[in-house]
């Protein structure tokens, strides 16, 4: 009796999973909830932020009901592949390495990373407004990197574990600086304030929220705005590779949202500047 019931239950689960994306009425979407303004947990304990607003808009366009679950960054991709949820909308950059494990929609935003250093470390000043695309590193770009490398030699630098920033930081400065990987951006901020690390590398907007806070006054942006390279073409929705219909649905919804200016509006609302795909093209 028990076995029959279990078999029936299994059959039900398998059927539910086999339903095509467009037949689907509900979607579960994961977000980290610890990288404001992309995504964060608000005072009510719910997920909120640019990612969440974008996701709500896309769900409305795809005509599905979405529920949101917070999921630690470390492990967010394996959790998607085993089916804990259906999509990752968490400021995740589209990279070649991640593409080996999961599929990505077209980008719904661009973004860039920047170094932050404690003010009392007293490094030589740099221009923080110039852009540095790491995709094709030529001689002038290499000169900027070498300058940064010299300044950061012997320093302790923090970074979010499992992030592209971690890979970039290790590649650019792993030989000259001590790299410490954190489970969340918040833990890294605590250690920066506690002076256990001299600085770190992360998404610019995540830094901005911290630098504008009460504790953030001790640190400042350092070096050029970094993008390209391991960070890829931008930020997209992460999906399982076999969810082709869902991918197509997300792609067309993002297209619509880019064209009618929704992404631009949400970007300006959360980041004060336009980082929608429209702007970066």
């Amino acid at each position: 009796m028990k076995r029959t019931f279990l078999l029936a239950l299994c059959a039900l689960v398998i059927c539910a999973n086999n339903l095509g994306a467009m037949d689907r009425k509900t979607l579960t979407i994961a977000s980290e909830g610890a990288s404001p303004p992309w995504n964060a947990i608000n005072a009510e304990g719910e997920l909120a932020g640019f990612d969440i607003d974008v996701a709500r808009d896309l769900c409305r366009r795809m005509n599905v009901e979405c529920t949101f679950v917070p999921q630690d960054w470390d492990g967010i991709i394996p959790a998607l592949t085993v089916g804990k949820f259906d999509a990752i909308i968490s400021g995740m950059a589209i990279t070649e390495k991640r593409k080996k494990s999961i599929a990505f929609s077209r980008p719904y935003a661009g973004g860039f990373n920047q170094l932050v250093i404690r003010k009392d470390v007293n490094l030589p000043p740099t221009d923080t407004a110039i852009k540095l695309n790491l995709t094709n590193i030529d001689t002038p770009k290499q000169a900027v990197i070498d300058q940064l490398r010299a300044a950061l030699t012997g320093k302790n630098l923090g970074v979010l574990r499992s992030s592209n920033s971690e890979a970039v930081l290790n590649e650019l400065f792993g030989k000259v600086a001590t790299i410490r990987s954190y489970d969340s951006q918040d833990s890294m901020h605590l250690d920066l304030v506690a002076e256990r690390i001299d600085g770190g590398l992360a998404d610019y907007f995540t830094w901005k929220a911290f630098l504008d806070s009460k504790d953030g006054g001790i640190a400042m942006l350092y070096g050029p705005q970094l993008s390209g390279g391991l960070w890829g073409p931008g930020v997209g929705v992460g999906l399982r590779k076999d969810d082709r219909e869902l991918l197509a649905a997300f792609d067309s919804a993002i297209d619509d949202a880019t064209r009618d200016g929704t992404l631009k509006r949400l970007s300006e609302q959360w980041f004060q500047i336009d980082i929608s795909p429209h702007a970066s093209n």
Binding site: D74, G75, I77, P78, T81, K97, R98, K100, S101, G158, R161, S162, E166, A167, R180, S181, Y182, D183, S187, L190, D191, V193, A194, E195, R196
Partner: protein, 269 residues
Amino acid sequence: MNTAIALEALLTLPRGLVLTLALTFAALAAGFVISIPLAFLRASSNPWASAPVLAYTYAFRGTPLLVQLFLIYYGIGQLPLVRQSFLWTVMREPFWCAFIAFTLNSTAHTTEVLRGGIQAVPRGQVEAAKALGLSGYHTARLIVFPLSIRIALPAYVNEVIGMLKASSLASTITLLEITGLARQLVSETFAPYEVFIVAGALYLLLTLLITQAFQILEMYWARPSKQPNANATGIKERMPKPAFAPTKLGAEPDLRNTTVKPNDERIIS
């Protein structure tokens, strides 16, 4: 199961062995030394001696080690008082924060394990020591402690294995021991199964070595305690050796006839 990733894990993770073992055994050693006096205080009938120790062990056994670790690492780092003092040279290092948290936790557990051992020492042994005129300190050092450690050993092995596994929590404060390296590798490969299976196997291997080592110690300690017992229960009577058998009660066995002979000859010549 991707064997290439498992193989990579097999080559990468042993680099964390040194840190895992250093953290585990440094904390255990410090915890053991501190817990000996604490266990005697805890076993004391004087409430002024036992109650503070009980409060300490209750607090540290009753809260999760992860919480203690975070309080010490992130909590203490927030206090400007600590940050400006000499303590900060130690506390700013994640290794020492982990060491302090693990030691405090291990001390609490070991104290209770040893306390159990002390209270299980037969009263007769303690009374016999007193009858021989041993002081309180000597009774504790020569009689109670050696006996209690033998009684407590099996329970203490649990603490050692527990500490080994708990050392994986150090990965949450940026230390790259076995688990830290495993998490780093997972973040590079997105393959949690292969990597964590290898990490688990490494811990299993260490646990095997630890249990084997303590089993040998247990057997070694069990041996000498049997011999005086055996004599006391009259084994002497069951295996009389005619050559050495005393002829009269209280008389020395006449050894000179047998073994000392060559010497006698030498003296003569």
